[in-house]
Amino acid sequence: MNDGHEAQILVLGWNFRGASGPVRERIALTADEVRDGLRRLLGRGLVSESVIVSTCHRSEIYSIGQGEQVGDQLTRFISEWRGLDPALLESASFRRFGAEAARHLFRVASGLDSMALGESEVLGQVRQALSIARETGSTRAVLHRLFESAVRAGKRVRTETEIAVHPLSIPSIGVELATKVFGDLGERTLLLLGSGETGTLFARHALEAGVRNLRIANRTLAHAQDLAARVGARVVPWDSVARELPSADVVVGTTASPVPVVKRADVEAAMRQRRGRPMFFLDLAMPPDVDPEVKGVYNVFAYDLDGLEEVAAGNRRRRVREVPRAEEILEEELERFLGWFGNLSVIPTVTDLKRRLEQIRDGELERLPPGDRERLRPLAESIVAKLLHEPMRRMKNEPDAAKKLDRVEAIRHLFDLDRE
């Protein structure tokens, strides 16, 4: 902003880079707490607009405020509200102002600032933060536009680059590989060995990926029944695993068995019954549930944890390679936002408004016969000057920076000054 005591964008935040897990947990806010926090912030008159993004990896307060001390005031506010030591909060926090604050939000929305580079959930969280702030009435022109621009940048990064294409988690990689063998997994049968923590996690993941025909086998039958009831799967008795193999397209090992549960001979027999249709083994257990020799059977795909970790590392490298292109997109969107924001100052708006009214005046004069045109020109000029005088004076003299922004925004909108 150009005109002295103008309002500026500020972000104060605590994320996984600077704040430890316990600190982040204390600051993390539920949706209701965010609403409460926004009302308190506005009620105290600390800021004129505010949006809070709060996830397990970050809590960030985006605001429009005046003066350098707003950051300190916000830190004090959080410290009182959450009952945290101000010095600790201060040392774990980060602040960005103006264009840097906007750039930070764009990076967050596009997953460039995430622990898992390019992750997609954060875009939804940014969108949700804006919608909560709108409901609460804590956004006006600037933050609304800033967040919408950030969401657009995040979407573009995800569609125009491959930053979110290659999965990083082991279950997602397993599902992706199986999908490249079988196509749609909805019509396939998945046999899950083990119903412990990994098994449960994978079962949920498989259902999300569209698997409808899930079977679960566990040494302790009750555990298998329990998980099967929760995820809507069928239970296979532990001693029938070998008999069940021919009908399973994908087999996932997650048990704590000290010896392999699936042996090569079982798989060879199963493949004969399947008439060579491919089988896919995903061994997430350590020690392995699937005999490594299974890999050698014709048309069988088998992966162990080491193999999957290697794929994850490769995918991570692929995502990193997409960062420069993602940053180019962010800079394009940032430039567009900052162009709009820069115009929100009084001087460019006055210039633009004057030009617009003069265009209208000259356009109308052009339609007159030449003689009338020259005779009426002084009158038209005088009307335009008088029309301009009062709005200009009011915009310039408004002492409240937030109101000034609103007025400038209203003028730009009503006279369509951002149309090029």
Binding site: E160, L177, R277, P278
Partner: protein, 265 residues
């Protein structure tokens, strides 16, 4: 008059460039199918012009038959795109369409004068169907190569561009099965028509081309049988590649040097 043929070649070349580009850019088919469709229309116009001047389907010249072959391959590509929305196949298939269309323009197009042996609808169907069958086998060849590439990517856990863009093995396998089945059925009809027609025209007909056509039918028949008998996967893909090498041999060497009844010169 090859202007239309060259325009089609340019359109196919443009389609190939777009198809390669779409491999590396996420989202969309990248305009390649539209250019192939435009190329097909242009090439069709060229084929019609040639057919008018010859007074028959343009298969009596090597160039004409190559052009027809490329055209049918292009049609097969469009069917794949419309049915499966698969863009991974394009960059590998379009070069074949392009190559045959270029050969179609460059190779001799002055036919030996039509004799009573190369006239009539039976003969026309025989040759057109044979070319269609070869196009189906060419498609199967490309799909088999893609199958082997994708199979290797999956086994090695290489999740790069090819892995992402190529279809799932199951999908490639099904497309391959369809094209081999069509090729087999169409070639069988073509051979039957050919034999019927040959009996009418000659007595004591025996031709090396017939022998190779029967071997081709045998190889692709074996392929479909293997596919159902536990050999589904890379082995079937390899056999399809062998089958197509045989087709190429039959289409070129056999036509030019061994056969008496299938000389396009």
């Amino acid at each position: 008059m090859h202007a239309l043929g060259w325009i089609a070649v340019l359109l196919y070349a443009g389609a190939e460039a777009l198809a390669i580009r779409s491999l590396f850019l996420p989202g969309g088919l990248g305009g390649a199918p539209a250019l192939v469709a435009a190329g097909l229309l242009t090439q069709f116009a060229q084929l019609v012009v040639t057919a008018r001047s010859l007074g028959s389907v343009p298969y009596r010249t090597l160039g004409g038959s190559m052009s027809l072959f490329g055209w049918m391959l292009g049609l097969a590509y469009l069917v794949l795109v419309v049915r499966h929305r698969e863009r991974g196949v394009g960059p590998f298939l379009i070069p074949f369409i392009l190559a045959f269309s270029i050969l179609g323009v460059l190779l001799p197009s002055h036919p030996s004068s039509a004799t009573s042996a190369t006239r009539g609808s039976l003969f026309a169907f025989h040759v057109t169907l044979a070319i269609l069958a070869y196009a189906a086998f060419a498609l199967s060849f490309v799909l088999s190569l893609l199958y082997l590439i994708q199979n290797r990517q999956i086994r090695r856990g290489r999740t790069g561009v090819l892995f992402s863009r190529l279809p799932a093995l199951d999908v490639i396998g099904r497309m391959n099965r369809t094209s081999v089945t069509i090729g087999l059925a169409v070639l069988s009809v073509s051979v039957a028509l050919g034999v019927t027609w040959a009996r009418r025209v000659w007595t004591g007909f025996a031709d090396a081309k017939l022998l190779f056509a029967l071997i081709t039918l045998l190889v692709y028949g074996l392929l479909l049988w293997m596919d159902r008998r536990g050999w589904e996967g890379p082995r079937v893909a390899l056999l399809s590649i062998v089958g197509f090498i045989l087709v190429l041999f039959s289409y070129t060497f056999v036509n030019l040097y061994l056969s008496q009844a299938h000389v396009f010169r």
